[in-house]
Amino acid sequence: MMVLITYDVSFDNEGGQRRLRHIAKICQNYGTRVQYSVFECDIDPSQWVALKSKLLSTYDDSVDSLRFYILGKNWRSKVEHHGAKATLDLFADPLII
């Protein structure tokens, strides 16, 4: 299934930058970065449980926000891309480098 993850991390208190970096790295392990604070993760439900718990234990619930959009299996019909930074579909696109 496809999960779209967006986040806002506050720099106001100490450790904001560290948390931001940390969250981005966790997301990178599971999906592709489509915009600065936006990740698309094509994962199975068990991976989603792991990813979610990692994120929730990393962010600061008093100042940061995390939003998850669960697009399900047939997400390809629900996502459009325009403009620069064309993204890669990890499972469907040919990976030839």
Binding site: N29, L88, L90, F91, D93, P94, I96, I97
Partner: protein, 338 residues
């Protein structure tokens, strides 16, 4: 439902593949060219001078990602195989299947082969008009295909294959539309080929066969243990099995194109004292170049419903065959183009 995992092909010479946390990073000229999470990848194929860090090798093992190395020209070199997919089990399953139940795979492969031969003939028919002899052979081939459907005997399957092949090659000469240079085909001759057309066919089959053998080793199958072809020391029987699907579609059509476009001349061949005909070096280069550019073309794979480069078809089919042997797919889906 098992998910179809993607394969990563690294063709860029000098690329460096390393690991960053749970992701694979490919550096080209010390710059990050791509970063991919490992969970979408089932296999990594490295062609030529590609460096891989030891951590990635271990990482691939842990995640049952199949990591294989090939020369720049596609000859298999080595493989690092994942723990869970352990090749011993796959190979045992392959041996067991080859001993106990080779018929279904063999029949699917032969059916695909005959179908592709028919398509070569039909293609000619569409482009150059019909002739009585042609439609006769096509009808006969159709008939062979029909009877093959219900055949459960390996020797009979081989018999049908032979019948279709002899019908196909009986009109092969008519597929050579440009006779100005005097290329003639009067039947398949091998070991050694004694005329240019047979020489080209043999050459293409062996190049293609090597590619297929490499692809099979890449997915962890034993290329020497086949279903349709009998085992013989030193013979890659399984590679020959898979080759059947591609003979007409890749090799025959390429040979016909080269000859009909007059890209090859009779002077590109030498006849040795024993009667064997060989390609000269420059001509061989030309053939390989054309083959390479053909490999780059994309085609819709009917079973996967995806566009696949022709050069990757052996890898795709090897993967599907491994899946069938492992029991993930009920039937082996051979390659058939539209």
């Amino acid at each position: 439902m098992k998910r179809l995992q993607n394969s990563l092909y690294i063709n860029t010479q000098g690329a460096y593949l390393h690991k960053e946390r749970e992701t694979l990073v490919i550096d080209i000229n010390k710059e990050k060219a791509a970063q991919l999470p490992i969970h979408g990848i089932g296999a990594i194929f490295c062609f030529g001078n590609v460096m891989v860090s030891p951590q990635v090798m271990g990482f691939c093992g842990e995640n049952s990602v199949n990591l294989a190395f090939f020369t720049e020209y596609g000859r298999f070199l080595a493989r690092v195989q994942g723990k869970q997919t352990g090749n011993v089990l796959l190979r045992r399953a392959q041996y067991r299947k080859a001993d106990e139940d080779p018929v279904s795979v063999a029949r699917n492969i032969v059916a695909a082969k005959i179908q592709m031969q028919k398509q070569v003939l039909q293609r000619h028919q569409r482009n150059h008009g019909n002739s009585v002899e042609f439609s006769q052979q096509i009808t006969a081939i159709n008939h062979v295909l029909d009877t093959l459907k219900h055949c459960a005997d390996l020797d009979k399957i081989r018999g049908y294959e032979g019948e279709a092949a002899s019908r196909y090659f009986s009109v092969f000469n008519m597929l050579l539309t440009n006779k100005d240079l005097g290329f003639e085909f009067s039947g398949r001759v091998r070991r050694p080929p004694t005329d240019p057309v047979n020489c080209l066919l043999s050459f293409m089959y062996s190049v293609l066969g090597n590619d297929i053998s490499a692809a099979l080793q890449g997915v962890g199958l034993d290329p020497q243990v086949g279903f349709l072809h009998q085992e013989r020391p030193g013979r890659d029987s399984l590679a020959l099995d898979l080759l059947e699907e591609f003979r007409a579609f890749i090799a025959d059509r390429l040979v016909l194109t080269l000859l009909n476009r007059q890209q090859l001349k009779p002077s590109d061949f030498i006849t040795e004292t024993g009667g064997a005909v060989k390609l000269k070096d420059d001509a061989r280069k030309l053939v390989l170049k054309e083959y390479q550019s053909r490999k780059q073309q994309k085609i819709r794979h009917q079973f996967l419903d995806e566009d696949v480069e022709i050069g990757l078809l052996p890898h795709v089919q090897a993967l599907l065959l491994a899946r069938h042997i492992r029991g993930d797919l009920q039937q082996y889906p051979p390659f058939i183009s539209k």
